[in-house]
């Protein structure tokens, strides 16, 4: 807050410095410095009513305890000397005896509000736009004259309409019925959730059957406006929900895609899959640190190096596991489950030993922060959009790899009929290793993506293992398309339920749903047809 105040004072200050010599009203400054709290607030409001932009540094100084008095004079005492509050001239030497001007919380709140309002008159468009956004909720009656004046002076259409909305939210509380009515009708054009609750509060019934708003006509107008606002907001909410669903779905998809290869195609129950994701995330962390240490200028591009690094690291670990342990357990799924669980425990502990048990910090590159403002109440963050795109790319790449390359042909051949594939000269053992490495590498890619949206810690993988298995099983084992549909579907259902019942219940409901679904249709959504399924 303090920082924000300073920043805006600075922004104003550049414009105001030249006119600082245009002296402030000495009587008001006096009231601010010597008066009691009520007088101080009155003075602040007076500055706002005058639209005195040059008063901003003075007000900020008051809020931050930099305002002092020496006799009759009022001084702003900063780190580099003092200036006279009225004339804005430098005061040297500093008078010996000075008294602090004390501001309590009420005064400070008033100052914050006033400074924001004064920014409405700033010459820069961005500063005004920010000020408008801040005032959208909680503008007080005292600001009304200033807001109106700003509206008249405003040339930018967007800020102008926002100012009209702010004026309307203030005038809704007016005593005059016609003003209220007009304000309420103006609010119908709003698309902010704050307006919705404001209009809702007008329609509330108090205890004893009396309405907050006594006038019937005004109530009817409020109802109509509310309907208009709600209609507009509902679209935004629907769009937001859809986006959240797709976003969660893409994360699930990335996490499950590797498993769709190792479990779905090869039939290996890899409980260490989550840990391969975790290794990918840590590989991203290491690359980030290396780039920061040796090429700080290229920090924004570190992800380009991290993606192959994550893929290769996880892929190599996966291939090593396949060669050393999993290979000896083909055809014994329950034993594979236990052994890979053991592997996952060791990997977790190894990461703890290497990097510590605490979460590590992976920063987004700057081009991934921020987002697109779709509607007033919907912002699509860049990192989520990137992950959706990334997931799509990975799915396409894996799909092409499996259907269009020699390795993909071998993998499918070995999956369908190992003995026959071996007979026609496919090196089945090597294909197994490569396929497992590919699945693990994709898990590493998932880890790289997850590091951009969540915490990176040794337990990262544990959170995804149950979900990943659910997605693969739900989609149907051995079906890439099934995995895609299942991931997006589950992500969407999860978010939909979440908006009704909260995150935990939604998650439980989804798990129970899948458990019941598997009872009904053990082969998953997209089943392989034919007798081979039973085997």
């Amino acid at each position: 807050m303090k920082k924000a105040l300073c920043a805006l004072v600075f922004a104003l200050g550049l414009g105001a410095a030249s006119i600082a010599s245009a002296a402030l009203d000495a009587a008001l400054v006096g009231k601010l410095a010597f008066g009691d709290n009520d007088e101080k607030i009155a003075a602040i409001r007076a500055f706002v009513a005058q639209g005195e932009a040059a008063a901003a540094p003075l007000l900020t100084a008051l809020a931050e305890g930099q305002l002092q008095t020496a006799g009759e004079r009022v001084l702003i005492v900063g780190d580099d000397g003092a200036i006279d509050a009225v004339s804005g001239e430098k005061v040297t030497p500093l008078p010996e005896t000075r008294d602090d001007v004390i501001a309590n919380n009420r005064v400070r709140g008033e100052v914050a509000n006033a400074v924001a309002a004064l920014r409405l008159l700033a010459p820069q468009r961005e500063v005004r736009l920010k000020a408008v956004k801040e005032l959208e909720t909680g503008a007080s009656v005292a600001l009304l004259p200033l807001v109106k004046r700003a509206r008249e002076k405003e040339t930018d259409a967007e800020i102008r309409s926002a100012l009209e909305q702010i004026a309307a939210t203030i005038e809704v509380k007016s005593d005059d019925k016609a003003t209220r009515l007009e304000a309420i009708r103006a609010l119908a054009a709003s698309d902010s959730p704050g307006t919705r609750s404001l209009l809702g509060s007008i329609l509330l019934m108090q205890q004893g059957g009396r309405y907050v708003e006594p006038d019937e006509e005004v109530r009817r107008a409020a109802e109509e406006s509310l309907k208009a606002v709600q209609g507009r907001l509902a679209w935004g909410e629907r769009a937001g929900l859809l986006f959240a669903g797709v976003s969660l779905g893409s994360i699930l998809l990335l996490a499950a895609l590797g498993l769709a290869i190792t479990y779905g195609l090869m039939g290996v129950i890899n409980m260490a899959h989550g840990e391969l994701i975790m290794i990918g995330a840590y590989a991203t962390y290491v690359v980030q640190n290396l780039v920061r240490a040796y090429a700080p200028g290229a920090f924004d591009a570190y992800l380009l190096a991290a993606i192959p690094a994550a893929f290769i690291t996880s892929g190599l670990v996966g291939m090593a596991l396949e060669r050393s342990v999993i290979r000896y357990l083909y055809g014994r799924p329950l034993e594979t489950l236990l052994a890979t669980w053991g592997i996952s425990l060791m990997l977790i502990q190894a990461v703890r030993t290497l990097f510590g048990a605490q979460n590590v910090q992976v920063e987004n590159p700057s081009w991934m922060s921020g987002g697109i403002q779709l509607l007033a109440n919907v912002v699509l963050p860049w990192n989520r959009i990137m992950i959706i795109g990334f997931a799509a790319l990975v799915v396409i790449a894996v799909g092409l790899l499996l259907t269009r390359t020699r390795l993909g042909l071998f993998v499918r051949g070995v999956t369908q009929n190992r003995a026959m594939a071996s007979c026609v000269g496919v090196p089945t053992a090597r294909v197994d290793t490569w396929a497992f490495g590919l699945g693990s590498g994709v898990a590493g890619l998932a880890g790289c993506a997850l590091s951009q949206v969540g915490n990176v810690g040794p337990d990262l993988g544990q959170a995804y293992i149950v979900d990943s298995f659910m997605v693969v099983v739900f989609g149907g084992v051995g079906q890439l398309a099934g995995t895609v549909v299942a991931a997006l579907g589950l992500g969407f259902i999860n978010k939909l339920l979440e908006s009704w019942s909260g995150a935990v219940i939604a998650k439980i409901a989804v798990l129970v749903f899948i458990v019941l679904f598997i009872q009904k249709r053990p082969q998953g959504l997209f089943a392989l047809k034919g007798r081979a399924v039973e085997a």
Partner: protein
């Protein structure tokens, strides 16, 4: 052992500390769970990753009774358990009905895991879910229930669970005498479970189970309805777990949702695998060996316990498919043939 704790004076070489009594009581509870796991996994070939759930449910049923036994001695001196006062609840939720009656608690200990297992097993086995699929959905079930119990609104104390127990049937739970009695009851239960298990697996029923494990399709074509067999042993196994959980809670003094974490359930499988699948004694031995090792490791080198456990998982599945008991048996057999 318990006698050594009470009758032998402290400082005597044969004296057993209360800590050791509690520890071995705890391990015996685990042994009952391992036994239950062995019945379903070793003999019927169904790997459950949900036994931690049944164990915790039994524990929670007992915990509810113990919470009510605290009475007004809690921190807030209320009739309600402390966490409810903390959440500003005015009365007990419906599922706490009758929870101050011991017999009701005992009924819940058996009925809740039993009914859940019966319902779940009926659905799963009827649609012929087996193998890894079954393992994964039991894991999902356990995970979902854990999330549910983590919530304060569920009415089981959220992530803190139940603790600070004072009395059991009017006796002080922390008193050495009570602990010794609990120890003895646990021991007796373990023995009874072992005898029951032995009787079951050596009877015709046990042979059908083994047949299901080795060739389920064939036994179905022979005219057996495998659903009934699997469902019975699955439910029995869950009930045994529930009882073990109920004995575990007053000895350890705490129950919280982390008992249901998927990791715990998988660990149960490794006890059985270490001891030897398909041998009841092996399961008990495995629970003892792994947990004794855990007690030593986590005190002496806490850093390395997970490495050790992970290695145990890998080595046992790769090199010791029949566990320690299997190893000993094959040793003695080869010794016999040599002689």
């Amino acid at each position: 052992m318990p006698v050594l704790n009470l009758a032998v004076p402290e400082g005597h070489p044969l004296y057993m500390s209360t800590f050791l009594v509690t520890l071995s009581g705890k391990i015996m509870c685990y042994a009952i769970v391992a036994l239950a796991m062995d019945l379903i996994w070793g003999f019927a070939g169904i790997l459950s990753l949900g036994h931690g759930l049944f164990f915790a449910l039994g524990g929670y049923a007992m915990g509810m009774y113990l919470m009510r036994q605290i009475g007004r001695q809690g921190q807030y001196q209320s009739e309600l358990p402390d966490f409810m006062v903390f959440l500003d609840w005015k009365e007990l939720p419906w599922h706490w009905w009758m929870s101050d009656q011991f017999w009701w608690a005992m009924l819940l200990v058996v009925a809740v895991p039993g009914l859940l297992a019966f319902g779940f097993g009926y659905l799963a086995f009827r649609s012929r879910i087996k193998g890894v699929y079954f393992s994964i959905i039991t894991q999902a079930l356990t995970f979902a229930t854990m999330l549910l119990f983590f919530r304060n609104e569920t009415g089981f104390g959220g992530n803190n669970g139940f603790t600070d127990f004072k009395r059991l049937l009017g006796f002080d739970v922390t008193a050495p005498q009570t602990r010794v009695v609990l120890f003895a009851v646990t021991g007796a239960t373990l023995l009874a479970a072992l005898l029951l298990g032995r009787w079951l697996v050596t009877s015709k029923f046990g042979r059908v189970l083994a047949a299901i494990r080795d060739a389920e399709t064939r036994i179905m074509f022979c005219g057996y309805n495998t659903l009934h067999y699997k469902l019975f042993i699955w439910t029995l196994s869950a009930v045994l777990c529930g009882i073990a959980g109920a004995l575990y809670v007053p000895q350890v003094g705490i129950i919280n949702p982390s008992e249901m974490s998927p990791a715990n359930s998988i660990e149960i499988a490794i006890w059985v695998a270490v001891g030897g699948r398909g041998t009841l004694v092996g399961a008990i031995a495995g629970a003892g060996i792994v947990n004794a090792a855990k007690s030593i490791f986590t005190v002496a080198f806490p850093e390395y316990w997970l490495y050790f456990l992970g290695l145990l998982f890998i080595l046992v599945t790769l090199f010791l498919p029949n566990g320690v008991v299997g190893l000993l048996r094959s040793k003695s057999r080869s010794a016999e043939s040599a002689a």
